[in-house]
């Protein structure tokens, strides 16, 4: 496997002080202010000046809410990342477990927030437990995956060196892997920081006393447009700040920018071993599920085990009806999910290519996109729906936006990975920028594109279910929320199982497409 290391190229990462992002931010703010004034009285958009006025009046309350949410997000960030480091260490010291660890981790990451929230609330009772756990769940996977890559991101001879002095895997981990993985760890942490904040906010929807999430719910219900936009602004600011702070920390520690890569190409293995891993992961997941209900002695009214779900979907008298309801809801969701997912991927890759042809714009767009990909979806979902309506457009756009930013960042990075020597050869043939794009840059971009495409599967499922739940009231997201409020826990757990399994399968399917296409266009990436 080829490991994408940080090249010296992305100058914007090395020189964080550049005027371009400030200019684009200023333009954006001006447009926002204009739109806000145009739309005043429609209860859709608050202008920056109105947001500022609101913040000036209510900053004390906002600061207290922010402190609570940040505190929980920070704890979740720590626990989630420690879990990721522990899992990655296990996989590194005991390589045979890697595929199973990664598979189980993916499955847990695919659990829909809408459903895990209430379950965690019951487990923890009142307090900060669910907020912290959801924050941890939101971060551990995005740290684990780069870390697994990073722990392997060293030439084989470094490990030979350790072995040649008679030392084993633990020494390799301590002396080689740990340091080699550091840039990747920082990449993970950078993405994790905004994600932890989002997780903590969603956790607050489960009945927390205070925090930014609680205020968001309140603001939307009360038609308080200033408050809604003020919350979104603060949450966005915090997310961007967290991203920037970790980036700065990384630059200080590493003296080089962290790699922007999101995930390694799926390890190419024989189909049988992939199936075997899938089977082991499924069995372990079922055991853990069954075991957790017993260990925590959860009440069977709401804690449904694998047997209950099997009964509800296959054996029960109304099993056909349950299946039909689920299939209907999943169908509704897919109608929004697939176009949004594909549109987001195409837009991300397309814009990245366009910007490579027009490098002046790239310096402006890249930092903005990096920043915007950390905006928490729970605050944007209601805003996008306010602006674009509850029809298909709003949902599709939101899913596309969730997919767009990470894809764009990854693709732009990938396009810049094109090996300089090959570019020089093309230069010597006076090849134009388009030829260079097609012949060299796009093949070089493919691994990053697919890494983004895979990570976008759970992200888009999260986006679509959150929008359905908070805004449109359609599809499987709404079905899960409704099942919880109507105590139809058989349905809820069945939906959780299906959504998680389908997300994980979607992830695997993208991995399969990736292997096929990389074999054709960039075989060195698969080897």
């Amino acid at each position: 496997m080829t490991v994408t290391t940080a090249p010296a190229r992305p100058a914007i990462l090395q020189k964080p002080v550049s005027f371009a992002p400030w200019i684009s931010t200023a333009i954006l703010l001006a447009l926002w202010e204009l739109a806000g004034r145009q739309l005043s009285g429609t209860f859709v958009l608050a202008s920056p000046s109105e947001v500022l006025r609101y913040l000036a009046e209510e900053w004390r309350m906002m600061a207290r809410a922010l402190a609570v949410t940040l505190g929980n997000a920070a704890l979740g960030f720590v626990f989630g990342n420690l879990a990721a480091i522990a899992l990655a260490t296990l996989a590194s010291v005991w390589p045979r477990t890697e595929r199973v660890v990664a598979g189980l981790a993916l499955l847990v990451f695919c659990l829909p927030l809408v459903a895990t929230g209430p379950i965690l609330r019951v487990l923890f009772g009142p307090g900060d437990g669910p907020q912290i756990v959801l924050a941890a769940l939101a971060v551990y996977y995005t740290t684990l995956i780069p870390l697994l890559v990073g722990l392997r991101a060293a030439p084989a001879t470094w490990f030979d060196l350790v072995r040649s002095y008679g030392r084993g895997r633990v020494s390799a981990l301590v002396h080689v892997r740990a340091m080699a993985a550091l840039p990747y760890l920082f990449t993970g942490l950078q993405i994790a920081a905004p994600a932890a904040f989002l997780g903590a906010m969603v956790g607050e929807f489960t009945g927390a006393e205070r925090g930014m999430g609680v205020l968001t719910v309140r603001a939307i219900r009360a038609l308080d447009v200033e408050m809604t936009w003020a919350l979104a602004t603060v949450a966005t600011g915090v997310a961007i700040l967290a991203y920037a702070v970790i980036g700065a920390l990384a630059r200080r520690v590493l003296k080089a920018p962290p790699p922007v890569i999101l995930a390694a190409p799926a390890p190419a293995g024989a189909r049988s071993s992939a199936l075997q891993t899938g089977a082991i992961v499924t069995v372990l997941a079922l055991l853990a599920w069954w075991g957790a209900i017993r260990v925590f002695d959860l009440n069977p009214f709401f804690a449904k085990g694998p047997g209950d779900v099997f009964a509800a979907l296959i054996l029960a008298d109304d099993a056909a009806e349950t299946r039909a309801t689920l299939a209907g809801a999943l169908g509704e969701t897919l109608v929004f999910l697939l176009p949004g997912y594909i549109a987001g991927l195409l837009a991300g890759a397309g814009l990245a290519m366009l910007l490579v042809l027009m490098p002046i714009l790239a310096g402006t767009a890249m930092p903005l996109a990096i920043a915007l990909r950390s905006v928490p979806i729970v605050t944007t979902a209601p805003l996008v729906v306010l602006l674009l309506g509850r029809g298909a457009t709003g949902t599709i756009v939101l899913v596309a936006v969730m997919v767009f930013f990470p894809t764009f960042v990854a693709c732009l990075h990938g396009l810049r990975q094109a090996p300089g020597q090959i570019m020089d050869v093309l230069d010597s043939y006076a090849a134009g920028p388009v030829t260079r794009l097609i012949r060299v840059r796009i093949p070089a971009m493919l691994p990053a594109f697919f890494a983004a495409a895979r990570m976008a599967v759970p992200a888009s499922v999260l986006a679509v279910t959150v929008v359905e739940w908070l805004a449109t009231g359609a599809g499987v997201g709404s079905l899960m929320a409704l099942s919880a409020s109507l105590s139809d826990y058989d349905m809820l757990w069945s939906a959780v199982v299906l959504v998680s399994a389908l997300s994980a399968l979607g992830y695997a399917a993208v991995g399969a497409v990736e292997r096929r296409i990389l074999t054709l266009y960039a075989p060195e990436q698969v080897a």
């Binding site: 209860f43 900060d128 437990g129 929807f205 309140r218």
Partner: protein
């Protein structure tokens, strides 16, 4: 850690409760307060101000209870904590309670805070919906999940639901103001209040006035609690009754107390005052004037059973258990 702490608190509470039970009617005040949780159905607001008054004035402490008011939220169902015993009592509604019972939850309704269901059809004055027949030909904004509610209203009033255009919307007054819909299915105490605070007049048609009889903000507890923790239940409900009676006397003060107790909830005083005032007619009636807060009769239960039937919920009168309330009101 959180978990074990809760476990410990629970065990402690159980032990204390067992202690009082063992001593029968020994004076409770000599013992440590029994911690119990009341699970609210939504975020803190004047909607639960009666409970805040009881808390603030120490009426539960007098009863030997240390009550924690656990707020709900968009992703916080009430039923699981009550089933699991984390909460002694939850604030639910007859339709949700009926659904939970169908799924095997051993619930009883102990009291009814909202005699009249708060569902309304809200519209703007120049295109009003004053009675169910006005709905024909209109676009109504609502969550699709609430379709059975509209179906029930139509069935009760012989209105053809096919004549109404249902537009799925998020729970917000914005589509009505923007003219995307002609009316909204919402609560009397939230979206119309939000509109009023923005200076927008609205017309509300209370569905309860047109036969939609579903008890709301109902107190639920498990059969097990009813059998084994009666004293705690009576104490809790006694505080509630006192709190809500005090609330009725001065809703403005209740709204102020809400903000004072929950300064971080992002509440607006004027909004809370208006909400507090508007929910009074839903909670108090001739029936409660005659028998006390939370009361119901065989007739109101029968009406509920009929409406619930239209909502697809098959329930029997024994879902309601008035024994706690009778003890509280001394009848």
């Amino acid at each position: 850690m959180q978990k074990t702490m809760n476990r410990r608190a629970l065990i402690g509470g159980g032990a204390a409760a067992a202690g009082t039970l063992a001593l029968g009617l020994a004076p409770r005040r000599l013992f440590a307060q029994t911690p119990v949780t009341l699970q609210l159905s939504w975020l803190h607001s004047a909607q639960f101000a009666g409970s805040y008054i009881a808390q603030d004035r120490g009426w539960w402490i007098e009863e030997g209870l240390e009550v924690a008011l656990s707020q709900g939220g968009p992703n916080a169902p009430v039923e699981p904590p009550v089933v699991s015993g984390t909460a002694l009592v939850g604030i639910s509604a007859a339709d949700y309670t009926a659904a939970a019972v169908e799924e095997g939850a051993p619930f009883k309704i102990l009291g009814v805070a909202m005699q009249k269901n708060p569902f309304v059809i809200a519209s703007l004055p120049d295109n009003p919906v004053n009675e169910p027949t006005d709905l024909v030909g209109k676009r109504i904004g609502m969550a699709l999940a609430n379709t059975p509610v509209l179906q029930a209203l139509c069935a009760l009033n012989d209105v053809d639901i096919d004549g109404i255009e249902i537009v799925p919307t998020q729970y917000s007054a914005q589509p009505l103001i923007a003219g995307e819909v002609d009316c909204l299915l919402c609560w009397e105490t939230d979206l119309p209040v939000a509109m009023a605070m923005q200076g927008i007049d609205s017309v509300t048609m209370l569905m309860a006035d047109f036969g939609y009889a579903v008890h709301s903000q109902t107190y639920i507890a498990t059969e097990d609690s009813l059998a084994n923790r009666r004293a705690d239940l009576v104490a809790l409900m006694r505080g509630e009754v006192r709190g809500w009676d005090a609330y009725r006397e001065d809703t403005d003060a209740a709204a102020e107390l809400t903000l004072q107790m929950y300064p971080d909830a992002g509440l607006d005083l004027e909004t809370q005052k208006l909400q507090a005032a508007r929910q009074v007619p839903l909670m108090f009636s001739e029936l409660t004037d005659a028998n006390g807060f939370g009361w119901w009769t065989e007739e109101t239960v029968a009406a509920n059973i009929e409406t619930l039937g239209l909502l697809g919920r098959d329930v029997t009168p024994d879902l309601w258990d008035r024994s706690i309330l009778e003890e509280v009101h001394g009848t």
